[in-house]
């Protein structure tokens, strides 16, 4: 079975381990074995080293990458921020002067960045490496009739020149759309598809501004799609959708019930028949009804048909 380095980042292993569990459940079934990158740390997040010193950023990022290089595997991450930070660092490390400086720092911890491991997002591995057909073959439940609004997140879209896998049109991303459609669900277009959710530095700097931006996006989803659920491949976006909808509701800023939000692999794990208690159990929004709907008998795919 093909191996890939599972780079967890911070939020997924520490705050949303059910997402981590969903990775660990689905990938071996789909023919890719995630390998732990022991001792990998923060990517580092935009608000830390990248905000202080470029070479320190690259040094901490490349330390993570060297762990994968030692195992001779590429890196797969489920967090868009990690994907962006590592990809950009890799891009900066193409400059010989930066690479030399960074390797000077890494020498102090007996590491050397070689540039042999590529950075992929979980969505890329599912879409390009495993493929839609293989996913379809492993479904236990079909999601026909469910309406999904997708949230790709910024850091797999731009700047497109630093990413290993690019959307055909970053302003109209289709990778997650196709991944959702393979379950049988309908993915509805909404105008703010590629818009930012407001998580990240904005959220910690000025929560009100962040919520304002988020609300615009949420309304676009609600009004234009009336989706049954929201699916994302960004752990930060997931947190914003999961955490901020109840806040807006409570403050009376929205007049509809929060829309259940899943990380894509959670949805897929459910559709593949895994236990919700393991793969989709941590949420601010009550997801039980929709999970029950997804794993209802009516949706079960009969063996051999």
């Amino acid at each position: 079975m093909e191996q890939i380095g599972l780079y967890l980042g911070c939020n997924i292993p520490l705050k949303s381990p059910d997402i981590e569990q969903s990775f660990r459940k689905i990938f071996p079934v789909l023919g890719v074995q995630p390998v732990d990158l022991e001792g990998a740390g923060c990517c580092p997040a935009w608000g830390t080293a990248p905000s202080f010193d470029l070479n320190t950023w690259c040094a901490i990022s490349s330390r993570n990458i060297t762990i994968a290089e030692e195992k001779n595997v590429d890196i797969m991450t489920g967090c868009n921020s990690c994907f962006g930070v590592l990809s950009e660092a890799k891009h900066f490390l193409e400059t010989p002067a930066t690479r030399a400086a960074v390797n000077g720092s890494l020498a102090k911890i007996n590491r050397e960045y070689k540039g042999t491991s590529d950075i992929y997002h979980v969505a890329h591995v599912l879409h390009n490496q495993i493929g839609l057909t293989k996913i379809r073959e492993n479904l236990k439940y079909k999601l026909d009739g469910l309406k999904i609004a997708v949230q790709t997140g910024c850091h797999t879209l731009w700047p497109s020149d630093v990413y290993k896998v690019k959307e055909d049109n970053p302003y109209y991303p289709t990778i997650l759309k196709e991944l959702c459609e393979v379950t049988g669900a309908t993915v509805c277009h909404y105008s703010r598809l590629e818009g930012c959710c407001g998580m990240g530095g904005m959220r910690s700097t000025d929560a009100e501004k962040s919520l304002k931006l988020f609300k615009e996006k949420l309304l676009s989803i609600k009004e234009e799609t009336d989706a049954d659920l929201i699916v994302t491949t960004c752990s930060s976006c997931f947190m914003q959708f999961d955490m901020s909808q109840p806040i807006l509701k409570e403050r009376g800023d929205i007049d509809f019930e929060p829309i259940p939000t899943f990380y894509y692999t959670q949805l897929l794990a459910l559709a593949m028949g895994f236990e919700p208690q393991q793969v989709a159990c941590i949420s601010q929004i009550d997801r039980n009804p929709i999970i029950a709907e997804i794993q209802s008998d009516a949706r079960r795919i009969k063996e051999g048909v």
């Binding site: 049109n169 277009h189 105008s191 598809l193 818009g195």
Partner: protein, 675 residues
């Protein structure tokens, strides 16, 4: 042995104030082969020149060195003088001891004098090896070719024809007229484009000195100024143009549809079609790529016979043509026929294209309501797909909010760094026309800045503000597709420092002006160069705006760079005047200081051939009578050679000589300077 005369100029005190002229003269007198060394207050004066002439006439000297100012200004004067005295004018060399010595070393008289001596020695060294050279002349074919029959090509052709020169006007489309024929109205006067263009099209087509070759392409160009040999491929029309009356019946009956590119793809046309109602020549062609061969009537086959009637079963187009111009049993000839023409000069006016919206992923290219400005031009034209009514392509409904986006692909390092120059104005024109016709429209225009340099242009722009058109400084960052085929505009108002968002029914993109891809192939045939990746390069950006590096080849219009109609017409007339010069002279001078191959020495290695920037070198078979063999040798076409000497330096067989700059002359200079 050469008899060199050296003449040192005081140039008043310009030289003598710094350099010890007598010392230089005394030094020169002792140089090998120098028979006379004189000095004079002003060598370029009549008396100074007369001194030289007298020595030549007396047979005292047969090589002349003048040590004075710069050959760049004074060489022609002294050359003319010695020629008058009966000496070949190329037996002259100048030593630059003013501009490059006395003027720059005024603080070091001794140093300047010593330098002057060496510079004179260098000139003498070269002069000893000078050989007489002769300028040559070639006769000129009194005819011109204009490639491209848009407004630029038509203007140039009319100008040349009116001067009395036979002019060929080649156009790749079935009709002349170019992009101007697609336009509705023209800024800043709002006159109808067709109304001012059509008469010129007719005039050009009917001009006794103009031979219009429509639906034709330049296949190959050979030769040089005065004598270009051009092969023109006349594409097969599949309809006999001698018989075609332009009635359009064939198009009415033709069932095959394809997007009408004249209408920017906003409507369909038939496979058999007339390009547009005012087409000149008004002739139909069959677009064979989209022809569906009705009734099994593949071109080049005999018709089936109806068993009952015994009559041939014809295709609808054949049946429709009352003039009998369509006969599908004629052989298929997609290569067309080659017509060879001889011309003395060529004007290239191949125009431009606008970029397709598909390049701009942020601009929701999938939406039918995002269109290019050229498409809008057709959408508001009376001969366009909607008969001049403004309707959204998605549903043929009237739009209420319109957005104009400038600099789409222009001033953009990802596409074209140039300003496309006339977009600002045509967008303002379109906005004004629409606002006049539909006052209820909300029109938002987004510019990085408005560029309205031109006579009466800025007034046209400020007037638009008074009409209630909204202007925003700030480039549009993107479009988002909204339900109902509307578009959300993501914009920014620089003055307000605020982002702007609103819904729009129709978005018009001013996509960049660029060379069409076939222009690149044409450039290779002609030897034209490009400015970076964009546009054909003129000889000099200021003083040679219509000339090119290829003598006898001129450029005009948007192929040289984006420009509006007035500028195109001006440049076209300028190019025509320049192209007429060799035709009017009847012969062109070939400079003597050019390169020549000694075919006895040439080994035929061909190193020189790809080096020549003017394609003047070709490999030809040559009979070496001494060795009794036919061999491949390089030949330099003297009319194309400009005398740069790149080939001379590269020639490994020492077979190429650059007259006036020969190896032994330069070695003599080096030796003199390092003595």
């Amino acid at each position: 042995m050469a008899k060199v005369g050296v003449y040192v100029c005081h140039c008043g005190s310009n030289i003598a104030g710094v350099i010890d002229v007598s010392a230089v003269r005394d030094f020169a007198e002792l140089l090998p082969d120098v028979v006379i060394a004189r000095k004079d207050l002003f060598m370029c004066s009549d008396s100074g020149q007369e001194m030289v002439k007298q020595d030549v006439r007396d047979g005292l000297v047969d090589r002349v060195v003048v040590a004075a100012c710069t050959p760049r200004t004074h060489e022609p004067i002294f050359r003319a003088a010695i020629e008058k005295a009966g000496l070949n004018k190329y037996l002259f060399e100048m030593a630059n001891i003013r501009d490059q010595a006395s003027w720059v070393h005024g603080n070091d008289h001794d140093g300047a004098t010593e330098k002057a001596k060496l510079v004179v020695a260098s000139a003498v060294g070269k002069a000893r090896h000078l050989q007489p050279l002769h300028d040559k002349f070639v006769d000129v074919t009194n005819a011109a070719l204009v490639i491209g029959a848009g407004i630029g090509g038509i203007s140039a052709a009319l100008e040349l024809a009116n001067m009395g020169h036979k002019t060929y006007l080649v156009e790749k489309e079935p009709s002349i007229g170019g992009i101007m024929a697609q336009l509705d109205k023209t800024f800043p006067t709002n006159d109808c484009s067709a109304c001012i263009l059509t008469p010129m099209m007719v005039q050009a087509f009917n001009h006794p000195n103009i031979e219009t070759l429509a639906y034709s392409e330049v296949a190959d160009v050979d030769g040089y100024i005065g004598n270009f040999n051009v092969k023109v491929r006349q594409k097969q029309t599949y309809i006999d143009w001698k018989k075609c009356t332009g009635c359009g019946d064939c198009a009415d009956k033709c069932p095959s549809k394809t997007p009408d590119l004249f209408n920017g793809g906003l409507s369909d046309r038939r496979a058999a079609y007339i390009m547009f109602p005012q087409a000149v020549p008004k002739k139909a062609v069959v677009d064979i790529e989209h022809c569906i061969n009705c009734a099994g009537r593949t071109i080049g086959t005999q018709p089936k016979i109806n068993e009952k009637t015994g009559k041939a079963i014809l295709a609808p187009c054949e049946r429709a043509c009352r003039a009998g111009a369509i006969d599908r049993s004629l052989p298929l000839d997609p290569g067309g026929t080659i017509k060879e023409i001889e011309v003395g000069s060529i004007v290239v006016a191949t125009g431009y294209q606008v970029m397709d919206k598909g390049w701009f992923k942020e601009m929701a290219p999938a939406s039918p309501n995002v269109i290019t400005a050229l498409q809008l031009e057709r959408l508001i034209s009376a001969t366009g797909p909607t008969g001049g009514k403004l309707l959204r392509p998605s549903d043929n409904e009237k739009p209420h909010t319109l957005t104009f986006v400038s600099c789409v692909g222009s001033r953009d390092v990802n596409f074209h760094t140039h300003c496309s120059r006339f977009c600002c104005m045509y967008m303002i024109k379109q906005a004004r026309l629409l606002k006049e016709k539909y006052p209820y429209l909300v029109i938002n225009m987004h510019f990085i800045d408005v560029r309205s340099a031109g006579k009466a242009y800025d007034e046209y722009y400020t007037g638009a503000r008074e009409m209630g058109i909204n202007f925003f400084r700030g480039k549009v960052g993107g479009l988002e597709m909204l339900p109902g085929d509307q578009l959300r505009v993501l914009a920014y108002d620089i003055e307000a420092g605020q982002s702007i968002e609103y819904s729009s029914d129709l978005v018009i993109l001013a996509t960049a002006v660029e060379l069409p891809p076939d222009a690149i192939a044409l450039a290779q045939k002609l030897g034209l160069q490009f400015c970076g990746n964009d546009f054909f390069r003129e000889l000099h950006p200021k003083l040679g705006p219509v000339e090119t590096a290829v003598a006898g080849l001129f450029i005009a219009g948007c192929c040289q760079g984006p420009k509006d109609i007035p500028d195109t017409v001006s440049q076209a007339k300028g190019a025509a005047a320049a192209a007429a010069v060799p035709l009017a002279q009847g012969r062109v001078k070939i400079e003597a200081t050019i390169s020549e191959v000694d075919s006895q020495k040439c080994s035929g290695c061909g190193i020189c051939e790809p080096l020549c920037p003017y394609h003047a070198i070709s490999m030809r078979d040559y009979t070496d009578r001494a060795r009794g063999v036919i061999e491949r040798h390089a030949i330099i076409e003297m009319s194309s050679c400009k005398g740069c000497g790149v080939c001379t330096s590269a020639c490994p067989s020492a077979a190429i000589k650059l007259h006036g700059y020969e190896d032994e002359q330069i070695y003599a200079q080096i030796a003199a300077l390092t003595a």
